[in-house]
């Protein structure tokens, strides 16, 4: 499929089946992601989006099919240093303190690299700075807000300069300015040639970046092609959202109590 001249596909999954707890979560999913592409995985809750990215990264076992990352099968020899994964949320705290710097430093390990390389601390601090948390490097992650924890997870994925970034609902629970900063970061990475696979519930701030959308339904690919055509004017910041029909009951806009004094 891949000749010597063209670069291998960033992700190539064929006939992927995943069965968890006796239930078939994914059935015959084929997915090929070209290098440099930004792909959105869409679908309802429980449609198998998270399971698909976990299967692509070897987190959950597959019962059939194969996955190749940059042309290499999953396993110890896969190019793990080129892959950055941002899970949906940080695991529940065990009570053991861990600083943001320590969590991001753990992102420097991959495959057979079990000790951080020289200059790891500098790279981890740079990654924290890129998500705007440089001043919190030595804070416990358990004391951070959900959005800040999410940014630590993003820094942990970015610290190894990945060529493939896999994001599981990266902007859920994040305030709008931070979302914008994050989309800026992703678009900068995309411009530099990074492949991005992102799970989303709504295109939202990513709308301008997405080149292709894969919609999952009941563990199968229901749509694969251009992103669902959102009315572009609706996505604009200055769009004044009005309804064609009148509001059922206009919301109160100010003091409406009138007092009549009768002699």
């Amino acid at each position: 499929m891949t000749s010597g001249t063209t670069p291998p596909l960033a992700v190539e999954a064929t006939g992927l089946d995943v069965t968890l707890g006796g239930r078939r979560i994914l059935a015959g999913v084929d997915l090929a992601v070209e290098p440099g592409q930004v792909l959105a995985l869409l679908g309802a809750n429980g449609s198998g989006k998270s399971t698909l990215v976990r299967a692509l990264l070897g987190v959950v076992p597959t019962s059939a099919g194969s996955v190749r990352l940059f042309g290499a099968p999953l396993g110890p020899s896969a190019p793990w240093h080129r892959v950055g994964y941002v899970p949906q949320r940080m695991p529940a705290a065990s009570g053991m303190p861990a600083t943001a710097l320590e969590v991001v430093t753990s992102g420097l390990l991959h495959g057979r690299r079990l000790r951080p390389a020289h200059g790891g601390r500098r790279r981890a601090l740079a990654a924290l700075e890129s998500v705007g948390l440089a001043d919190r490097a030595h804070r416990r992650v358990q004391e951070m807000s959900g959005g800040q924890q999410q940014r630590v997870l993003i820094a942990r994925a970015l610290v190894r300069d990945p060529d493939l970034l896999v994001l599981d609902e990266p902007t859920s629970g994040i305030d709008i300015p931070t979302q914008a900063t994050f989309v800026d970061t992703v678009s900068r990475l995309h411009a530099a040639g990074t492949t991005v696979v992102v799970i989303l519930h709504e295109l939202g701030p990513f709308a301008g970046l997405i080149q292709r959308a894969v919609v999952l339904r009941h563990g199968r690919v229901a749509h694969d092609g251009p992103p669902p055509a959102a009315r572009p004017e609706h996505a604009h910041a200055d769009h004044d959202h009005t309804h064609a029909h009148p509001d059922p009951e206009p919301p109160p806009t100010g003091p409406t109590i009138t007092v009549e004094v009768t002699p």
Binding site: P91, M96, A98, E102, G107, L114, P177, H241, P252, T253
Partner: protein, 352 residues
């Protein structure tokens, strides 16, 4: 007077061996305990200790069959084998995550203790022998025991400190470690194995029934004050050495059991540390806990009362400076204004 006693204690070869063992075990046990607490397996050491007793007894049994002169020559190797096998089984049960795992562990623990007590009697051991393994007998540490302790403690510290980042990664977020291609299973087994080795070296100092305390209580003390994983580990190790040496020193003057003294001392330290924590925690009055919060909700009443506010004016009437398309409700009224505007007929400004 006191100084003479200290010198006398330090020149006794028996006490020298005991102190060296206490320092090594006190330093190594909390290093392993840090990973166990992070993996929520604080009681794993306890379980391994139970299983190790059967290993000790099997060592006795083999020793008496072969006719070795010190009958317990194979006790420590037996404990090492049983503890490693037991810890790997516990880790496999944990990995499966089945509900029956709980019962499987219980069966293993009680089977380990009962089998050990039974076999040690069959092998010709006495109740005194049994007690010395269950509750420690640091005063009977032989030179051979000491070499075992030195070698295993070096191995435990080497693995625990050398692979600290990798073991942290696996213990902190197993899913991410898998998605990074790390050998998660191997690293989990490694934690289980060094826990098993720690149990066997701590057996002489605090005894199999109290091993877990020396692994966990110093970590519990350290995490009250430390802010990072690395500092917790270092502090726990220092606390482990201090309580072990002080506890052992006390038994030189008083006729009290060393293992129990060390553990009680550690728990006293924990109680004091926990009680003093509110007073000792550094208070940072000018440290705003949310300095990077964006004031993205404007209260319209405030804006009206103070129209010269330069920052607020351009964004008046919107929910956020950079609103998403869906966040502007129909009619342009913000969600924040409606409850505030209606219940105040006087029109006065509200303090927010």
């Amino acid at each position: 007077m006191t100084w003479d006693l200290v010198v006398e204690m330090l020149t006794s070869p028996l006490m020298q061996r005991a102190l060296l063992a206490a320092v090594l075990v006190g330093a190594a046990a909390p290093v392993v305990g840090t990973f166990l607490v992070q993996r929520r397996m604080a009681l794993m050491g306890d379980g391994i200790g139970h299983v190790a007793l059967t290993g000790v007894a099997l060592g006795w049994l083999v020793g008496s069959w072969v006719g070795l002169v010190p009958q317990d020559a194979l006790a420590v190797p037996g404990a090492v084998v049983a503890a490693v096998v037991g810890s790997v089984v516990i880790e496999l049960v944990r990995e499966r995550g089945r509900t029956s795992g709980d019962l499987a562990l219980a069966l293993m623990f009680y089977g380990g203790i009962a089998g050990g007590v039974l076999l040690i009697k069959v092998a010709g051991g006495t109740n005194a022998n049994l007690i010395s393994y269950l509750f420690g007998s640091i005063s009977t540490v032989s030179t051979t025991d000491l070499w075992w302790t030195v070698a295993l403690a070096a191995l435990v510290l080497g693995v625990g400190l050398g692979l600290r980042t990798a073991l942290f990664a696996v213990s902190h977020d197993e899913e991410f470690a898998r998605a990074s291609g790390l050998p998660v299973r191997l690293l989990s087994m490694l934690v289980a194995t060094i826990a098993a080795l720690t149990v066997t070296i701590a057996m002489r100092v605090v005894g199999l029934l109290l091993v877990s305390a020396l692994m966990i209580v110093p970590v519990a003390i350290a995490q009250l004050y430390a802010r990072s994983f690395g500092r917790t580990m270092t502090l726990a190790s220092v606390i482990g050495v201090v309580v072990s040496v002080v506890g052992l020193g006390l038994t030189y003057w008083q006729d009290i059991p060393p293992g129990a003294t060390i553990v009680v001392l550690a728990i006293v330290v924990y109680t004091v540390a926990a009680a003093l924590r509110p007073a000792l925690q550094r208070h940072r009055p000018d440290d705003d806990p949310h300095p990077d919060m964006v004031d993205d909700v404007l209260i319209v009443d405030d804006v009206c009362d103070d129209p010269v506010t330069t920052v607020a004016t351009p964004a008046r009437g919107t929910v956020a400076p950079n609103p998403p398309p869906a966040a502007t409700p129909a009619g342009g009224a913000t969600a924040a204004t409606s409850p505030l505007g209606t219940d105040d007929p006087a029109g006065g400004s509200r303090a927010t």
